[in-house]
Symmetry: C2
Subunit: 404 residues, 2 copies
């Protein structure tokens, strides 16, 4: 009898946890495991704000997939997933196809632009290693060019960050550390630099405790960040952005616009014909797509409702990793056709937003934290993600130990 | 009686040597010395190819003027020279004016574009700290952007260097070291990168010994540089350059075009009404402008004919420094109205072109050198320039000791 073929799409937090668990839990004769990923490396999505600002080298935020997986057990294919044919049970990639008996979709998120014109053309994202280093280099180039022009364009030194959610706030925190360095490097007057955060919602860090939000906003304002809360970006143009101020439209010139205001599921999921809400599929208790017991969906493409507040859980690395554990277990049950599948329940241990080096705000095990304690916890969370995937050796190699 | 006012324009090699010699040779009661420079730092023009390629940090190639001059003897003014009124004996700057009794013009060179359209708009130069770091950042941004585009544009990875003279060749040598680093940093296939050197003259390094030229060209070709010798750039456009191939015109697409094919004197000299050839003034034996005994012109704005070959000496740091020594001496004679002025005769100790780390070609004290020996001599020459201006402490601080 042919071994069942398990195909995992994407080596993000969810996909890698699934594969590293599967390679231990499933015997060599029980299943063929294939992992497909665009790059030959995994990157820490939750560290990209640092690589984008230039406060952490992007190589610190990625590691080789082959160093993590058991290459005798897992067949790794570096390719880009183009589409899923769930009837023919196959995945089409740029350079080939692969058939599956069980599929795990852990392809991650795409940016959500809410139909705002010009964002795709003119705004930078904080979404991948590629985008992070491009953004870093773009900002550096703006600073490097400033003194070259006979007529100085101060807008080259203006950075607009769209979105005061998690990514936006963390990126602003890093800029707070990075901008003084850039001013020194390129002989630029710090007072010429403007950092503007535009957020359509009535508060920064929606969903966070108001006390923590105040702490974060005050901290960033002290570092020079201007907040425009309750302000919608109407359009992104080559020269900057257009915002609505009451009835009036105002143009803010900016050499750099960063869009960090939310994500949606992956377009491959939408195009595959699964019932979805903005690319996210409301999975069953076992993390399967409704009506498709052979397809598991985890991470940013999975939609799970938090019954307490009747809203979806936000897409986080924490939940993706927990889903990976459950997904691996349920796949073992599926291929063996015995045992009981586990039901997924998120276990939210906490949430900490970094505010640059040595400062942060958050809640850990129900306790509010700010400052160096929160910053310490943030680094522990980052190190834990490494530990979960690659054990102690990966923590030693890539961990964060720059603790006060 | 009022002390004579000596005003020195520009803190390049010539100006700084003049001032550091004057502050020792001229008593506090004998003259007022003013040095005017655009930046508060001096930079090593001959090291800019390294800062531009990114193989040496630009801060290594500059130092603070106040650390070099005797601030009790020299009045340093940071300002940009706009014009010289030689009849009223005054210098107009962006933020003020200053009168002189004796003027030293050591303002350095401007790029010579030979009327080629588009170079000013689209080509980068290797002319200042500002331009060097902009060029470095521009190249990095091209590499950083390459993987971000769904349809890869290989021309982003093409660098055209216009000119195979000293600066062009030395910059190509640094690129030979830098490109593999950039490929690693930005996950770019080395085979996609093209480095093209376009030179209108029938040889690279015109004026150099043919054996040394062959060595240099072979070395750079091995590192991947393509040479188009005897080929004129007809126009620089946003997408690259247009060259003449016989009767045909050919467009070469390139994300980066660097213009390193020659310099002319400073436009301030031209506009001041001195008789000049492309901004360079044929000075008398004492380095004075003809008909203006109160104006000394040294460095890249001075034109001195090499009688042996009936052609002007090239503008080099070596000659500018030697002129600074003579200029300071002659100024002492002028203000004292006694003694004999010295006649300037260039003493060419040699000329070495770097080909990247640990390789070079050149002639030193009449002896041809290639490889590590030449590279060692190049670093000694660089260190000597530091020593001449700032003594042993500046050599320790900024010197090059990365010797094989």
């Amino acid at each position: 009898m042919r071994k069942p073929r398990i195909v995992v799409l994407g080596a993000g937090y969810g996909g890698l946890i699934t594969v590293t668990r599967l390679q231990k839990q499933v015997g060599v004769d029980e299943a063929e495991i294939t992992l497909i990923n665009k790059n030959d490396y995994h990157y820490e999505t939750t560290w990209l704000h640092e690589a984008s600002a230039g406060t952490l080298h992007h190589d610190k935020a990625r590691y080789q997939i082959k160093d993590i997986i058991d290459n005798s057990r897992v067949n790794f294919v570096q390719d880009t997933v183009v589409s899923i044919d769930k009837e023919a049970k196959k995945v089409v990639m740029t350079n080939g196809e692969v058939e599956y008996d069980y599929l795990v979709i852990s392809l991650g998120a795409h940016p959500e632009t809410f139909g705002i014109q010009g964002l795709k053309e003119f705004a930078f994202g904080i979404t991948s290693i590629d985008s992070a280093r491009q953004l870093r280099e773009h900002i550096e180039y703006q600073f490097a060019t400033y003194n070259m022009e006979a007529e100085k364009k101060d807008e080259r030194l203006t950075i607009v960050v769209g979105g005061a959610g998690f990514t936006g706030i963390e990126f602003l925190g890093e800029l707070g550390n990075r901008i003084p360095e850039l001013c020194k490097e390129y002989d630029v007057d710090f007072n010429k630099v403007r950092i503007i955060c535009v957020e359509a919602a009535p508060t920064a860090l929606p969903g966070f405790d108001p006390e923590l939000v105040d702490y974060a906003v005050n901290h960033l304002q002290k570092k020079g960040v201007e907040f425009m809360i309750g302000t919608a970006i109407k359009e992104c143009i080559e020269e900057g952005i257009i915002v609505a101020k009451g009835e009036e439209l105002e143009t803010i010139k900016a050499g750099t616009v960063v869009w960090a205001a939310g994500v949606r599921g992956n377009s491959v999921v939408e195009e595959a014909g699964f019932e979805n809400m903005r690319g996210r599929v409301k999975v069953d208790g076992f993390l399967r797509a409704p009506g498709h017991d052979d397809v598991f969906i985890i991470g940013d493409c999975a939609l799970i409702i938090n019954e307490e507040i009747n809203r979806p859980y936000p897409p986080t690395a924490q939940i993706a990793m927990q889903q990976g554990e459950v997904c691996a277990k349920n796949l073992s049950v599926a291929i063996r056709e015995r045992g009981e599948m586990a039901t997924f329940t998120p276990d939210i241990k906490g949430s900490v937003a970094s505010l640059g080096e040595h400062d942060a705000v958050g809640v850990v095990f129900g306790k509010k934290l700010v400052g160096t304690k929160a910053s310490f916890m943030k680094k522990m969370i980052d190190n834990r993600a490494l530990f979960m995937v690659g054990g102690p050796s990966l923590v030693v190699k890539k961990g964060k130990f720059n603790i006060l």
